[in-house]
Symmetry: none
Subunit: 233 residues, 2 copies
DNA sequence: TCGCGAATCTAACGAATTGTAACAAGCAAC
DNA sequence: GTTGCTTGTTACAATTCGTTAGATTCGCGA
């Protein structure tokens, strides 16, 4: 996939440059404009993914522009403005802006907010649905474990929760308490073997040798460690 | 369609109340929680549209919660935090939050930002008659499912209701209660298997493999998730 | 090294949940 | 009435998942 395109519309040169630098450094394509008319002309031939718009423009009212942008183009619009009143923010957002950043701003935050917009706009974050590790591929979207030979094993939702927890923190101790907490969250502590059973079932599905588990290792008195070379995506 | 559901997770009673009032006034359904565990328990059977989360929770790390929320549930997450450092905001956003509001805040702005999230999240524009997903095209005006090969299968009104519900909220948990509510609206009693039967019939029409359905997944004890890349129009 | 209590493993059980085939009621068209 | 279709209900099969209980393993001190 190509780089997302971010446009910058601000009449101050210094701000345009700062944003351009930060965004390109972050891996985005950028186009910047000093006046609304230029920007609108460019819109006829390009479809930006995110538009940063300063409201105080010399040649046009920023708010109506935002309104049109949000409505007609499908792009995400982030207002950047020196006007810090709550009322300004509210009307900006109500008119269709997706976010409202107040000057002066930190470029890093702008980048983070741009990313947040893109994340929602582009669905299918495949990255969190599949993980490969030691001859296995876990498909969380299909609740399936696939062997390197191609044979498939289904796993249940509860098993998936455990597996995901492991795959998200490989080679690190996951304490029992920690696990209870992130999973079922069941109150019971003392005689609650549910966790063990879940892990046991997961182990069988992974074809672990009970005597010598290679992937899910028990740390007596502490918790578990998942030893696997995990790569997501 | 029914009111969007907004959840509030904050340990301060006063803040919860303030937000609840503002949001309900604005026409949203709300649910508020003082601790993360309660919230997570509720998540098993409800799918909020927007989650407001305070990071400083007594019983849990808010950031990992946000991460999981954003990833697993499809909901929009707005962090509300007293931590105003740029770095905090950046990490919060990078972890999957859609917005980051700093305390103290103005309720009106929170409402505006919640609205902004919903606007993007819920597409559902004009053409609600056709949807494409994973090799199928559903024509709600003709009550027809069309395969990519062109072969057609008719579906009934009741099946269409379920299918539409799924297609409107793909990749998100749809709880049983939620489904009863939006569909038949019947008094919804405990021994009402009609829902299951509808889904079963829909599954066969979609040619799902009973052993491992690819599109309509059951989450034991919670509800269903439709895993498909849906595009309307 | 041996023994013991605590921690963990796991087979087996069973309650709750979900799937679905079969039946029946309702209804429209003929 | 008969036929055909939709849809809820019933009954039973299948699955999920926590609990139980006995076996096994671990850490540690004698």
């Amino acid at each position: 996939m190509s780089k997302p395109l971010v446009t910058i519309l601000d009449d101050e040169r210094a701000i345009r440059d700062m944003l351009t630098d930060a965004l390109e450094e972050a891996g985005f394509e950028t186009l910047s404009f000093g006046r609304a008319t230029e920007f609108e002309a460019a819109l006829k031939t390009t479809a930006p993914d995110v538009c940063l718009v300063d409201l105080s423009l010399p040649d046009k009212d920023g708010l109506t522009l935002v309104h049109r942008l949000a409505l007609e183009q499908g792009a995400s619009v982030i207002i950047i403005s020196g006007r810090a009143q709550v009322q300004d923010r509210v009307t900006g957002l109500e008119l269709g802006a997706d976010d409202y950043i107040i000057k002066p701003f930190e470029p890093a935050e702008v980048v983070a907010r741009v990313r947040a917009r893109l994340r929602k706009a582009a669905p299918a974050p495949q990255s969190t649905e599949t993980a490969r590790f030691n001859g296995w591929t876990a498909h969380f979207d299909r609740y399936m474990l696939v062997d390197d030979t191609g044979s498939e094993t289904a796993f249940s939702h509860a098993e998936g929760e455990v597996l995901r927890l492991f795959l998200e923190r490989p080679k690190r101790l996951i304490s029992r308490a920690n696990m209870q907490e992130t999973l079922g969250g069941a109150a019971g502590e003392s005689f609650d073997r549910a966790m063990d059973v879940r892990i046991s079932r997961l182990r069988t599905k992974l074809g672990e040798d009970p005597k010598n588990p290679r992937l899910i290792k028990t740390i007596y008195g502490a918790g578990y460690v998942f030893l696997g070379d995990v790569s997501w995506g």
